[in-house]
């Protein structure tokens, strides 16, 4: 039976943070992408079987509010959430646009981050020097033509965008409702208006991240080139890069099973997750 997903609100030093909570045990905090938080993705109940999962909406997204002048400001607000609600230190996941605040939090408050998972993070957002080269990138990599409508966002707003974000077989617990889709579009428009720029200071400071870090990227990511993963692996001292073959941009939804397995093994085994511990015979089980 699935763990119930509960919608809650926290007041952290004057900031109003909406969040979803599910499960019990070791705390895992998930920083959402440009589309904000939704209860629909199947990875939430999957992770909640083992962990207490918190999915806060950052200030400006969904119903959350607080200081949003800079990326550092947002990270400070979220650090207070992690401390107050998460009881830090926690295992922190940043997906896509949630990668930048997750990295900032790991830089500014290493004491709150037990481990860090970055799923196709958007810190290097559209760096000209890292534009995908169709002749070198994995199959399918290229700049997708997603149009420029402000209504388009990090949610299933069109078939083309769905395919780019979630791939051919997205894993939803229940299909997102029309209201959820509309909210995602509003979130994405907000993100584009306020955060769609390179944070050069954060790029420089990634080298300060102390937490063991797992960088995940889909080889079929058409939004951000998979080759960017190499840059994070080089910059972050204790980092591992894993490519998920054939996976689209939004890994937690596009390939929920593989995402949950990798995150779980990384949290449980730490950097020893590189050791193959899967039994291949009855005798070794």
């Amino acid at each position: 039976m699935s763990e119930p997903i509960v919608k809650q609100v926290a007041d952290v030093d004057g900031a109003r943070i909406e969040y979803l909570e599910a499960g019990a045990g070791t705390t895992l905090v998930f920083f959402h992408g440009a589309g904000g938080v939704s209860a629909s993705p199947a990875f939430i109940p999957a992770l909640a079987k083992r962990y207490r999962v918190l999915l806060p909406s950052r200030p400006g997204f969904d119903g959350s509010s607080g200081s949003t002048a800079t990326g550092r400001d947002v990270a400070e607000v979220m650090s207070r959430f992690v401390h107050a609600v998460g009881g830090g230190p926690v295992h922190l996941i940043g997906e896509s646009a949630g990668g930048a605040p997750a990295c900032w939090l790991a830089v500014l408050h290493p004491e709150l981050v037990e481990s860090l998972v970055l799923a196709a993070p958007a810190v290097l957002h559209r760096r000209p020097s890292l534009e995908p080269d169709a002749s070198h990138g994995p199959a399918g990599v290229g700049s997708p033509d997603l149009g420029s409508s402000p209504e388009q966002g990090d949610g299933p707003s069109s078939d083309a965008l769905d395919e780019v974000l979630f791939g051919a077989s997205p894993a939803w617990s229940a299909p997102p409702s029309a209201a959820e889709v509309a909210q995602r579009q509003r979130n994405a428009a907000y993100h584009r208006a306020h955060w769609d720029a390179v944070d050069e200071e954060l790029e420089r400071r990634l080298t300060e991240i102390e937490a063991p870090t797992l960088v995940l990227w889909g080889t079929a990511d058409r939004l951000l080139p998979p080759e960017e993963g190499e840059w994070y692996q080089r910059a972050i001292p204790r980092s591992h890069l894993v490519y998920l073959y054939g996976a689209a941009h939004s890994l937690p939804v596009a390939v929920a099973d593989r995402f949950v397995r990798l995150v779980t093994e990384f949290i449980e085994q730490g950097e020893a997750f590189v050791v193959n511990q899967r039994a291949t015979s009855e005798e070794s089980r």
Partner: protein
């Protein structure tokens, strides 16, 4: 047109003729195998000295048709005997092996020959799936994932892990990397539409073997059309055609010498294996055309030498006749590389003479095609 000498390291005739597959290895003769290996090296050195552009080898199993079970092993040996030509591994059957092992070994061979490797990465004939007990229904998806993993291993400059459908690795950082960056020249076999489309998508060369001229022309046209739709144009060298060859002083002498080999080229047990695997789902629904092609080719192998020459399935004749056959091949298929199997069922002295005649009388004219 560039010319490659295909070197399968054939064992030669067994003491009892058999059409079974796998061929029982009680028919293996150690002394004959040693002579076969030496004969292979002798032919390779001669072809390199005589100006062939590539020396190639391929992977096959459980049969005296070829003793080369691992192109990386034989390729490494070739690098020590081939000093001028490219060393073409055409190639490892990547769904049947550890893709990272292949990535490492190919990079090592490229290192050993100073960056002269040509890298063929193949899916394999259906019967090969019986060798290491790999589910043939997964052939296509294993091939495509193994391909992408190998490309990433060659290109990615940082350690990475791989969480795939068929392959999982947590730390990859191969040494050596290929000398040729980002990759050596790449080829896949492309007689089916799926394979041709894959080659076009990946912008790599197309190898056409175990086929005939009309079918190859059709496959090459599809590949070029698909490439054009994707916004690029393959170079002539990116279409390769492979077939057995025998060159004699005269047409009659060549036909007399080659007829027993050419007309004895029936697939035997391999055809049975191909059928079993095809019925188990190797081709899939999209590959219905390929299934038909295999049936056609199987039929053609029992045709007369003259019919096979007419179809471009083998090349045979005096020098002028062979030049004409290759000219027609070039005109119809548009291949920039022809991969020729000289040691194909003929005694070693005749094979060497055929190589020498080809180099002196045919090669200069073929270069101009």
């Amino acid at each position: 047109m560039k010319v490659s000498m295909f070197n399968a390291m054939p064992f030669g005739p067994t003491r009892e003729r058999t059409t079974a597959w796998p061929v029982p290895n009680e028919l293996f003769d150690p002394d004959q195998a040693i002579r076969a290996a030496a004969g292979c090296i002798e032919a390779v050195e001669m072809a390199d000295e005589l100006g062939f552009d590539w020396i190639s080898c391929a992977e096959h199993h459980y049969s005296p048709i070829s003793l080369d079970v691992n192109v990386s092993v034989l390729g490494a040996v070739l690098t020590q005997h081939v000093h001028r030509a490219r060393v073409a591994l055409l190639g490892a059957l990547i769904p049947l092996s550890n893709p990272l092992r292949i990535a490492e070994e190919y990079a090592l061979v490229d290192t050993l020959c100073g960056g002269r490797l040509v890298a063929g990465l193949l899916r394999g004939a259906p019967y090969e799936y019986l060798v290491y007990s790999v589910n043939p229904a997964e052939s296509r998806s294993r091939f495509e994932e193994a391909w992408e993993l190998i490309m990433t291993a060659w290109r990615c400059p940082r350690p990475f892990g791989w969480e795939g459908r068929h392959y999982q690795f947590r730390q990859v950082s191969i040494w050596p990397r290929p000398i040729q960056q980002p990759t050596p020249p790449l080829y896949v076999s492309g007689t089916s539409k799926d394979s041709g489309a894959f080659a076009a998508r990946q912008r790599v060369g197309l190898g056409l073997a175990f086929t005939n001229r009309p079918l190859a022309a059709q496959a090459a046209r599809f590949y070029r059309e698909t490439a054009a739709e994707l916004g690029w144009q393959p170079e002539p060298d990116q279409v390769l055609y492979q077939a057995p060859i025998y060159v004699g002083e005269t047409d009659q002498e060549a036909q007399d010498a080659f007829r027993p080999a050419a007309e004895g080229m029936v697939g035997g047990g391999m055809s049975v294996g191909n059928r079993l695997v095809a019925n188990a789902g190797f081709y899939g629904e999209r590959d219905a055309e390929t299934r038909t092609r295999y049936q056609d080719i199987g039929a053609e192998h029992s045709r007369s030498l003259e019919e096979q020459v007419a179809q471009g399935q083998v090349f045979c004749g005096g020098p002028e006749a062979v030049v004409d056959q290759l000219r027609r091949l070039g005109e119809e298929v548009g291949c920039g590389v022809v991969n020729l199997a000289f040691q194909w069922g003929v005694p070693q002295p005749l094979a060497l003479r055929s190589i020498e005649l080809f180099a002196k009388e045919v090669l200069p004219q073929v270069r101009e095609l």
